[in-house]
């Protein structure tokens, strides 16, 4: 009597399964192709990062940080962070993690920037995409593992896929905002001198939206980094898996090292991309 009546049964699970089945039988080829391209991008990056001698990587990160942050100390600190990660014995794992992040970010940008542009150009498209982005942002990140798992099974590809889905909203949003924020008077001036739509976009709107897009890239990268840890649950090897394993085995010290490595990696990536975004801002407004 007090239990929930069994006859009120909503067969959502069956429906979802049916839909997935339908998708996989009819769109299987498509998702195979998507998976293969993701894997291709990922493998190239991973192979390169693992091939690169550690001191070259340290040097490159140091130089880049010094150039974009305009301070030699920043370069030294970032390089030192990388050495700390290596000293924990996590060089290869962190490079694998980095590879997933880079692959996910590249694909996110390749998809997100054009979508953001279309969204900025068309109010109806914006009206459709905006609520979707809002919904995506409110969902807990591990929810994205489910469709990834269903479409691609276990492994690296679904990890990258889930990371992309989680990380793509900021770059779409900020590309859209950046383009819409370009003053109408400037767009009008471009039109008055006979620019066609393409010229208005590439000569005026995108260049002026760059600072905003750079902020989007920074945020997307950080979200990719956050997701990559969670994505290790569905088979991405890397620092995330290391944290997961040490939690399972209650190895506090190991978990701490892996966790710290992730934090250091995050700081390096964040500071560098943030400084790049800030520099764009500076060039345009000065």
């Amino acid at each position: 009597m007090l239990e929930f009546p069994e006859f009120i049964h909503f067969p959502l699970a069956e429906w979802i399964d049916a839909i997935m089945h339908w998708v996989l039988t009819n769109w299987g080829v498509f998702f195979d192709a998507v998976g293969d391209s993701i894997l291709l991008v990922l493998l190239y990056i991973e192979r390169f990062l693992l091939w690169m001698p550690w001191f070259v990587a340290v040097l490159l990160v140091g130089l880049l940080a010094w150039r974009v942050m305009r301070h030699w100390l920043a370069g030294v600190v970032m390089a030192a962070f990388l050495i700390v990660i290596g000293s924990f014995g996590y060089w290869d794992l962190s490079m694998m993690t980095l590879a997933i992040i880079i692959a996910a970010v590249i694909i996110s940008l390749a998809v997100g920037i054009p979508v953001g542009i279309i969204m900025a150009k068309n109010n109806r498209v914006e009206a459709i995409i905006r609520p979707v982005l809002d919904a995506m942002q409110t969902m807990p990140s591990f929810v994205y593992l489910i469709p990834a798992l269903m479409l691609f099974g276990l492994g690296k590809v679904p990890a990258v896929f889930a990371t992309i889905i989680y990380a793509v909203p900021p770059v779409i949003r900020l590309t859209n905002v950046g383009i819409r924020q370009v003053p109408q008077s400037i767009v009008e001036a471009a039109q008055a001198f006979g620019s066609n739509g393409r010229q208005v976009l590439f000569e005026v709107q995108i260049p002026l939206a760059i600072p905003s897009i750079m902020v989007g890239i920074n945020q997307t990268t950080m979200m990719a980094l956050a997701m990559v840890v969670i994505a290790s649950m569905i088979g991405a090897r890397g620092l995330g898996l290391e944290v997961l394993l040490s939690i399972n085995r209650i190895e506090v010290g190991r978990g701490f090292e892996a966790g710290l490595s992730i934090v250091l990696l995050a700081i390096i990536i964040d500071r560098i991309t943030h400084a790049m975004a800030a520099r764009q801002e500076y060039t345009i407004s000065s």
Partner: protein, 423 residues
């Protein structure tokens, strides 16, 4: 003041007829009935939610003239000037540029028009903040597909012309307002268009810079002879620059004419309320107040005839012209009497050349010092020295008083403050 550069008259360059622009939903409904076509702007806004920005406007701009559209903020000037380039799509009406119907243009033709025939200058400059001054000036050429070397060469030339040599590599934000607008002007000139559209180009500038830019525009215009459509809310500016002035109110053009016509016979209280701010000394010209003398002396006439002429007309002095109508001198009664005493036969001895002349487009302001420097009437002559008429001290005074008198009868409509309306 003298040369507004009206080069080739009477060749129509821009012709607008029956132009409407209504913002809002279903604007065509308003055009359908006579009642709504003539209803007041506020009423229509309340009843339909539509804003009538431009209402049934027609005008013609001749080639090489500077046509001013003047009105208070919100009167529809910006909308009107944008409709000409279809930056804003007109609701109804016809726009002919060099005889071609712009409203019938497809996208490609329209872009072509904007690339080759027109150039626009904006109140807030509309410069590209991420491009150097040079790249800004070269933008129109770039869009057109002109090669880099060539477009930079042309851009340097026009920047030079507007006095920005040495600033090519700066970003616009490094420049003062006046200089930024020079970049705006350079950008428009680089395309070498026939037609310049200027939407309150000097309104955002300090008064001193504004005046300087106006003077430079006049100088530039006398050199390049573009057809210019110039929007302003400043009457002084309109009168100073315009060959013709159209006054807008609530989307309508309520009066159109030369600056002089507008100021000497304002069509209604609204225009008068503008005009009372303008000093007649700056607009009333010699040709409008000069008189055709009742008598003229001809070179070949003798002293006796001259004496007779003066006596019968009760005059003290008379201008003398030659066969071609050219002014030869002034013959005064005093000199004639002396001539008679000496018993000379020729009139030559009585001709006084100590008088002043003015050109037909000299304004009252220029005439004051002339009148003060002589005891005789001022002779008005054309460039060839041909005699056109004469102006007496008293006429100058009267035209001044008339200007003031009309002010006092000014109506109660909103008074135009003229300057700084949109700032």
């Amino acid at each position: 003041m003298s040369d507004k550069g009206l080069a080739t008259a009477d060749e129509v360059c821009v012709e607008v007829s029956g132009l409407w622009k209504i913002f809002g939903h279903n604007p065509e409904a308003i055009l359908e009935s006579e009642e709504t076509r003539t209803a007041a702007k506020e009423t229509l806004h309340e009843e339909t939610g539509c804003v009538v920005a431009v209402r049934d406007v027609s005008f013609k701009v001749n080639k090489g003239e500077l046509f001013v559209i003047m009105g208070l903020s919100g009167s529809g000037k910006s909308t009107l000037i944008r409709c000409v380039l279809r930056l804003i799509e007109p609701t109804a009406g016809k726009i002919l540029i060099n005889g071609e119907d712009v409203c019938g243009y497809d996208n490609k033709q329209l872009i072509n028009l904007r690339r080759h025939s027109t150039g626009m200058i904006f109140q807030h400059f509309g410069l590209f903040p991420h491009r150097s001054v040079l790249d800004n000036a070269a933008y129109g050429l770039k869009v057109r597909g002109v090669a880099k070397e060539k477009r930079y060469e042309i851009a340097r030339e026009v920047l030079n012309k507007v006095g920005l040599k040495g600033w090519e590599n700066y970003l616009p934000s490094a420049l003062s307002g006046g200089m930024q607008q020079r970049v705006g002007i350079a950008r428009a000139l680089a395309n070498d268009p026939d037609i310049l559209l200027m939407d309150e180009p000097f309104s955002g500038l300090d008064p001193l810079i504004r005046r300087q830019m106006q003077d430079e525009l006049i100088a530039l215009q006398s050199e390049v002879h573009k057809t210019i459509l110039f929007v302003t809310h400043d009457l002084d500016e309109a009168l100073k620059l315009g060959n013709h002035v159209a006054i807008m109110k609530d989307g309508d053009i309520i009066q159109m004419g030369t600056p002089e016509e507008v100021i000497t016979s304002p069509i209604n209280g609204y225009v008068r309320s503008f005009v009372q701010d303008a000093s007649p000394t700056k607009v009333v010209t010699a040709s409008s107040i000069m008189e055709q003398p009742n008598v003229l002396l001809y070179e070949w006439q003798g002293p006796k005839a001259a004496m007779h002429l003066l006596r019968t007309n009760h005059l003290d002095e008379v201008f003398m012209v030659d066969r071609a109508g050219k002014l030869r001198g002034l013959v005064t009664l005093e000199r004639l009497i002396e001539l008679f005493r000496k018993g000379e036969e020729s009139l030559a001895g009585a001709v006084d050349t100590d008088f002043v002349t003015a050109t037909a487009d000299a304004v009252l302001e220029d005439l004051f010092p002339l009148a003060a420097s002589t005891g005789h009437p001022i002779a008005v002559v054309d460039e060839d020295g041909k005699f056109l008429g004469e102006i007496f001290d008293s006429t100058i005074m009267i035209s001044l008083i008339q200007g003031r008198g009309e002010e006092d009868t000014g109506s109660t409509t909103t008074r135009a403050n003229g300057k700084d309306e949109n700032l």
